[in-house]
């Protein structure tokens, strides 16, 4: 999708011209007409946001993580506002895969929105079953595997926190999903070496990386003098975590120069989105900021086109990883391998 924006190609000039920016991008074999997506759990299955903007204009809708069976989620309070962010402990409330396919996915397909289905499980087997259940279901452009879930078979250890378990989940999904299905593994930042986890899931068959999920946090309520959330701890999201997310994208891009990356974490404006792209993301997701501005995804996509044009980029792909270029490189120069240790 090409957007025409009005900008000055030369920052020192007041000469404003119409500039065409090619907004199309790809996450490996998944081609997207535009680079802005919704983040899982922050857009449900698109229907509510379609009241505020045309969801088919986005790169894709990433749906709320779905499990095999209906799930009630955790007790309330499920959220607490924090400076430039929030904590949530929803507990993956959802209708289960059958209802999801019948209602949500059917609606998205009929609406003509590209859809990446986020799946979550309590065991490797649950992920495998979900991948299988989604085989040959119309309207699924890709899978995002939410591995930030406790493994019920191993003392609630989160799959995403160990390279071994993260890889096991992805391998199972790869084995049971449609062979051509793009598979994004969604990583947690709560690890010592995120590049190591990224490498493990790519070896296990992930065709791309989504990063980042929320980071674990906690708030104490001073009236009750107890944890503010019924679930005690919760996931921190919003602009407060943006620098952590940009860092994660940067480190993964350094370690894996060619893997598609879907970046997210606190994106509030087109310029925020551009930081992720320059750090190495091929596309970005908008999450918590939707709660502040339900029109945010499309607004940010338009601002991003502007932000690219102002800096002289005529396409998204030119800007991907641009912050990794060597000190002497100019616009459009490829990143060379030697420049990537970045210490």
């Amino acid at each position: 999708m090409t957007r025409v924006v009005f900008a000055s190609a030369d920052p020192n000039s007041s000469d404003i011209r119409a500039v065409e920016v090619d907004m199309s991008t790809d996450l490996g074999t998944l081609e997207l007409p535009a680079p802005v997506l919704t983040a899982s759990g922050c857009a449900a299955a698109g229907k509510e946001l379609d009241q505020f903007f045309d969801i088919t204009e986005l790169g894709a809708i990433v749906t709320k993580s779905v499990m095999l069976k209906p799930r009630s989620g955790r007790a309330t309070p499920r959220m607490a506002e924090t400076p430039s962010g929030m904590l949530n402990s929803i507990g993956l409330q959802g209708p289960g895969i059958d209802q999801f396919i019948e209602h949500d996915l059917a609606w998205l397909a009929q609406r003509g929105a590209r859809t990446i289905v986020s799946i979550a499980g309590g065991s490797v087997d649950e992920y495998a079953k979900l991948a299988q259940r989604l085989r040959n279901v119309p309207g699924v452009a890709g899978l995002e595997v939410n591995i930030s879930c406790p493994n019920v078979e191993n003392r609630g250890q989160v799959f995403a926190c160990h390279a071994g378990t993260a890889a096991q989940v992805v391998q199972a999904v790869k084995r049971f999903a449609d062979p051509k299905m793009p598979i994004l593994a969604k990583l947690s930042p709560d690890v010592t070496d995120i590049a190591e986890i990224a490498d493990a899931v790519v070896r296990a068959g992930a065709t791309g990386i989504s990063v980042m999920n929320t980071t674990l946090g906690m708030v104490i309520d001073l009236d009750s003098m107890r944890p503010a959330l019924a679930g005690v701890t919760g996931g921190l999201s919003g602009p407060a975590i943006r620098p952590i997310a940009v860092r994660c994208v940067w480190q993964i891009r350094q370690a894996l120069p060619h893997i598609p990356i879907l970046g997210m974490g606190g994106i509030r404006s087109g310029e925020d989105a551009l930081q992720f792209i320059l750090a190495g993301a091929n596309a970005v997701s908008i999450g918590t900021v939707i709660f502040n501005d339900p029109s945010a995804p499309l607004r940010i996509q338009e601002e991003l086109a502007q932000a690219l044009a102002i800096r002289g980029f005529t396409s998204v792909s030119e800007a991907v990883s641009f912050a990794h270029r060597s000190a002497t490189a100019e616009v459009g120069v490829e990143v060379s391998e030697e420049d990537q240790d970045g210490q």
Partner: protein
């Protein structure tokens, strides 16, 4: 069905009423869609505000046409930083508004006697409701209560809309000393009420629903749950509600509510996941 709009409203006036701030603002496109019980979500601070989550307020009054086009009013009780910011707005300031949101009160088809119960600023959405019920030929009796006199909202104005008004305060500073639920049974009996509408704190709603049930009356309760998005995408605002099929589900109060049938909400289980709720954790499971 209403379709929420997102706009910047211009503040026309902020006036004090007891301990509350009544804010009127322009909101083209919202008044004509508003039904009693709908609410708004208001953005706090500017575009870079660190308070990311919108605050919810019941729509108090609307005017479809006038000097400023569509306008509306909300009633703000200062509770924390966000409501304080809103109360500090001045004429000509603009605020970001999303609305109308939620499911409004259901109105009876027959001209039955109705009792409207408001706790604190909970009386705000009852004014429009009283007007519309009267237009349908319903008798409207109103009970409002608060901790103290300054926390009652709209005593004089609602009196004009009601066949009778009963006031309670916890400290007896105005009306009868006690709670709205102390006087509700008698008001219901006196007028043979068929429907009770209520808006206020959760404890009050639970008690109202119980009393309505004892009188075999229908009740419509507008709940107040903490909301992150207000538009149905985040699942933070849920409470256990019994459906037509008899099964309890955790439902979103922003889109399936905030108004619920009082006999359908499992009041004593709010804040928990009851064992028999659809999708509850299995023993030994997650």
């Amino acid at each position: 069905m209403s379709k929420p709009v997102q706009l910047r409203g211009e503040v026309l006036d902020v006036r004090r009423s007891g301990s509350y701030f009544v804010i009127s603002m322009t909101a083209p496109g919202i008044p004509e869609q508003t039904r009693p019980g709908h609410f708004l979500n208001i953005g706090i601070g500017g575009e870079d505000s660190s308070m990311l989550l919108r605050r919810s307020f019941a729509i108090h009054q609307v005017q479809e046409r006038g000097m400023y086009g569509g306008t509306l009013e909300i009633v703000v009780g200062v509770n924390g930083k966000g409501s304080q910011w809103l109360a500090d707005r001045k004429r000509h300031d603009t605020v970001s508004v999303v609305g109308p949101l939620g499911r409004p009160f259901v109105l009876p088809k027959q001209p039955v006697a109705c009792v409207l119960v408001g706790g604190g600023y909970g009386s705000a959405p009852l004014f429009m409701l009283a007007e519309q019920l009267r237009e349908r030929g319903c008798r409207v009796d109103v009970v409002i209560g608060a901790a103290t006199e300054d926390k009652l909202f709209g005593v004089l104005d609602i009196k004009r809309l009601a066949s009778s008004l009963t006031i309670t305060t916890d400290d007896g500073s105005l009306g009868e000393q006690g709670r709205v639920t102390d006087v509700l049974p008698e008001v219901m009996e006196r007028h043979d009420a068929g429907v009770v509408y209520a808006c206020g704190p959760m404890g009050m709603l639970a008690a109202v629903a119980h009393i309505a049930g004892n009188h075999r009356a229908h009740s419509q309760c507008s709940v107040e749950e903490s909301m992150a998005c207000g538009v149905g995408v985040c699942m933070t605002c849920v409470l256990p509600v019994v459906g037509d099929d008899g099964l309890t589900r955790m439902v979103r109060s922003c889109t399936d509510g905030p108004v619920f049938r009082g006999d359908r909400v499992r009041w004593s289980d709010v804040g928990t996941i009851p064992d028999d709720v659809v999708g509850a954790p299995q023993v030994g499971g997650h």
